[in-house]
């Protein structure tokens, strides 16, 4: 029996040794640790610059821009910039674990504009007030600067902005005899008319397709009626769903949900364009045409949605068709565009970064005229207002810039990420969409949200 035991021990050790080798050669960390252990190499590293890591979230930043950053960083700093792409769905768990860890923190990270206040308030980011003016100062998008500031010091700065506007079916608007609305009230009645008219006789047709849980688009009606989600008074945040203006907006939204939208009550803001395109392939081999995928005359989506809208070409790609599709900005009742939710993200240096100089070099590159222009040319709203004009002037850019001009951010409360993470907003908006008593619901959720907003 002892022999078996020693055999097992040997085998265990061998297995560990084997896998140890495997993982080392696989990760490439062997090279770094080896060079770090040699004294001359360390001084050399200081001369040649710092190797830093930059987290981008999602695929919004095109490859050309990433290549540009890596190349520029090498030239300016001499070190290597590693860009890691993270996904939006898991970013909170990753930032929560990595940012406090000096050994593994990204040096610079992108962060969603609505998540910025929470992480800024807990001290996750480096105070970069000293370079604020150098990076653009008051020319930077101020709403985004505000969510990344605490007590007048800047921590997280804007990275890029996006905005949401309306896509509509010209053919269906024409068939139903309605025109593009110019005020919010007109919009609300137009989409109800469209759903009622349903000129193509499609089951469950929506004049305006908006999911029940879709608060990111839904808050536009709150903002447009002068309401808000929360207010800051005497050092505390209060949820303001019960504010009369907020209630007014919510009631309009409920009206739309009840009369114009047949989208699922459980749907959030993902992929509404799937119900907006024709389904070109629904004609079977025997020539019978069944119901089409088309189910909406109007959708609200971020600007890049236009890549997913259009007629199918032979290769199965969508090609925008001006005859059939159009865009407009959600109008307010005051002649200005309605304030919609401002999409986009911030960027910050980790407070635990071990390579602050390198991180600052990267920030300088990102806020340089060249990079801001590159962002603009790629359809991403640049942080610095000087470069917005570089975005071009096609109908999508025009709509983006126009809707962004009056766009509004979620409250800069320390607990905002908690509010989003709790799923309570989805719950509340779903209940409103289902026709619940708006006033009672608003009071109920104010109670729940207020403590969360203040981070307890």
């Amino acid at each position: 029996m002892k022999r078996i035991l020693s055999m097992a021990a040997v085998a265990t050790a061998a297995a560990l040794a084997l896998t140890g080798c495997g993982s080392d050669s696989g990760s490439g960390s062997a090279a770094t640790s080896a060079s770090a252990s040699e004294a001359p190499a360390t001084t050399e590293a200081a001369q040649t610059g710092e190797n830093i890591t930059f987290w981008l979230i999602g695929g919004d930043t095109p490859q050309d821009l990433r290549d540009y950053l890596i190349k520029e960083y090498k030239e300016v700093n001499g070190g290597t910039l590693t860009i890691e792409e993270q996904s939006w769905g898991d970013i909170i768990a990753k930032l929560t674990t990595s940012l406090p860890d000096p050994a593994n923190t990204p040096d610079v990270t992108e962060i969603g504009n609505t998540q910025a206040p929470t992480f800024t308030n807990v001290g996750a980011f480096l105070d970069i007030s000293d370079m604020y003016e150098e990076l653009g100062g008051s020319k930077l998008l101020q709403g985004f600067v505000e969510v990344g500031s605490v007590d007048g010091k800047e921590y997280a700065l804007p990275y890029y902005f996006g905005s949401r506007y309306m896509f509509y079916r010209k053919d269906i608007y024409a068939a139903a005899g309605v025109s593009v609305p110019t005020t919010l009230d007109e919009f609300n009645s137009t989409v109800a008319t469209l759903a009622e008219a349903n000129p193509n006789n499609i089951p469950d047709f929506s004049g305006f397709f908006i999911g029940g849980q879709d608060w990111r688009n839904g808050i536009s009606w709150i903002f447009a009626n002068g309401g808000d989600l929360a207010k800051y008074e005497n050092g505390t945040w209060t949820s303001t769903l019960s504010d009369p203006n907020t209630i007014k907006g919510l009631e309009q939204l409920q009206q739309i949900q009840q009369t114009a939208s047949k989208a699922p009550r459980t749907m959030k803001d993902e992929s509404p364009w799937l119900y907006f395109n024709d389904s070109d392939s629904s004609t079977a081999e025997d020539g019978t045409t069944t119901a089409t995928a088309l189910a909406a005359a109007t959708i609200m989506a971020p600007g890049w949605a236009h890549w997913s809208i259009g007629d199918l070409d032979a290769d199965g790609n969508r090609v925008w068709n001006d005859e059939k599709f159009g865009v407009f900005v959600l109008p307010g009742n005051d002649g200005k565009p309605a304030p919609v939710f401002a999409g986009g993200s911030n960027i910050a240096i980790s407070a635990k970064s071990q390579h602050v100089e390198g991180a600052k070099d990267l920030m300088r590159i990102i806020f340089s005229a060249e990079y801001q222009t590159l962002l603009a040319q790629n359809g991403l709203g640049p942080a610095n207002s000087d470069y917005v004009s570089a975005m071009g002037s096609d109908e999508f850019t025009t709509a983006l810039v126009e809707s962004a001009s009056n766009a509004k951010l979620t409250p800069a409360a320390p607990g905002w990420a908690t509010v989003e993470g709790s799923g309570k907003l989805e719950e509340f908006f779903q209940k409103v969409a289902e026709g619940g008593d708006v006033t009672a619901l608003a009071a109920e959720y104010d109670e729940i949200l207020t403590p969360m907003l203040n981070g307890k």
Binding site: I4, T19, G20
Partner: protein
């Protein structure tokens, strides 16, 4: 005699009808169970426009490997496959080794603390993992095993070892110790006896437990999500998840998502079909003790 003769064909016919019905049911149920798998493969061969149509297409006519080409062109699949293979195989080997030793201990010996150990093994499986990730991250970071295959393999081994011990216990108990001793009486050494007699009898059990460990380690993604944050150290489930999420912010490219899913499932399916025969006989052997 005559009654037996006349009854036999009748009973046979009865049994035959029953058997045909059972066979039809078996095949029908196999189809039901396999349908989602089939649907994944079928969809991976079709263009996205067809998939987004409300009329499903049940056969991949006019299909192509374009989705697979698009998925593989990213160049991220093979590194993830490599990481997954290293992590999974390490975890399986360690797990079988450790669990085998432990199973030997608890099924061949009566000792103080044995019951306690068996209970602990059972209770560890009841631990909810959703709240553990911060502590797991801190631990792995402090010992420098973050983003390493060996670190993740260690966590997986610990996660799977309890159940594997539980499973192997039955197999080891099923091999009578007398057999080994008999061989020794015939002049074999203890090691020789073990390898010639006991080990072959245990092989199916090791295969069955190994398959279980393989599946768990291959599929896990909540621990990996926190431990393997670097793009370069992603495992296949993380790669697939990244793929699904990426599609979520743009148009959901179901065809590519299904092609990616097929690629992740493929190695497991091949592995399963290879060990299929042994797996079943392994489970049979395990059932002796239960």
């Amino acid at each position: 005699m005559s009654t037996a003769l006349s009854a036999a064909p009748k009973a046979n016919r009865h049994i035959k009808v029953g058997k045909i019905i059972a066979s039809i049911a078996a095949v029908a149920l196999a189809i039901v169970w396999v349908f989602p798998v089939y649907w994944m493969v079928n969809s991976s061969l079709l263009p996205n426009a067809v998939l987004n149509s409300p009329t499903p297409r049940f056969l991949p006519f006019g299909g192509s490997l374009n989705n697979f080409r698009a998925v593989l062109s990213g160049g991220t699949f093979f590194p993830a496959l490599k990481t997954s293979l290293i992590v999974t195989l390490t975890a399986v080997v360690l797990c079988l080794l450790f669990a085998f030793c432990a199973a030997l201990a608890i099924s061949r010996y009566k000792f103080k603390g044995r019951q306690g150990f068996v209970l602990a093994v059972l209770f560890i499986q009841m631990l909810p993992a959703e709240g553990l990730f911060i502590a797991q991250y801190k631990m792995m970071s402090s010992v420098g095993l973050l983003n390493t295959a060996i670190g993740l393999a260690g966590l997986y081994t610990a996660a799977v070892v309890p159940f594997t011990i539980w499973m192997l216990r039955g197999f080891v108990a099923g091999v009578p110790a007398d057999l080994e001793e008999a061989a020794m009486v015939d002049g074999a050494t203890r090691t020789g006896a073990f390898f010639r007699i006991t080990f072959p009898l245990l092989a199916p059990g090791l295969v069955a437990s190994g398959v279980y460990a393989f599946l768990q380690a291959w599929n896990e993604f909540t621990i990996a999500l926190v431990i393997m944050q670097k793009e370069s150290s992603r495992t296949l489930p993380l790669w697939l998840r990244g793929f699904v999420q990426q599609s979520n912010t743009r148009e959901v490219d179901w065809g590519q998502v299904m092609a990616a899913s097929s690629l992740v499932a493929l190695p497991v399916i091949v592995f399963f079909l290879l060990v299929q025969g042994r797996l079943t006989s392994g489970l049979v052997a395990g059932a002796v003790k239960g």
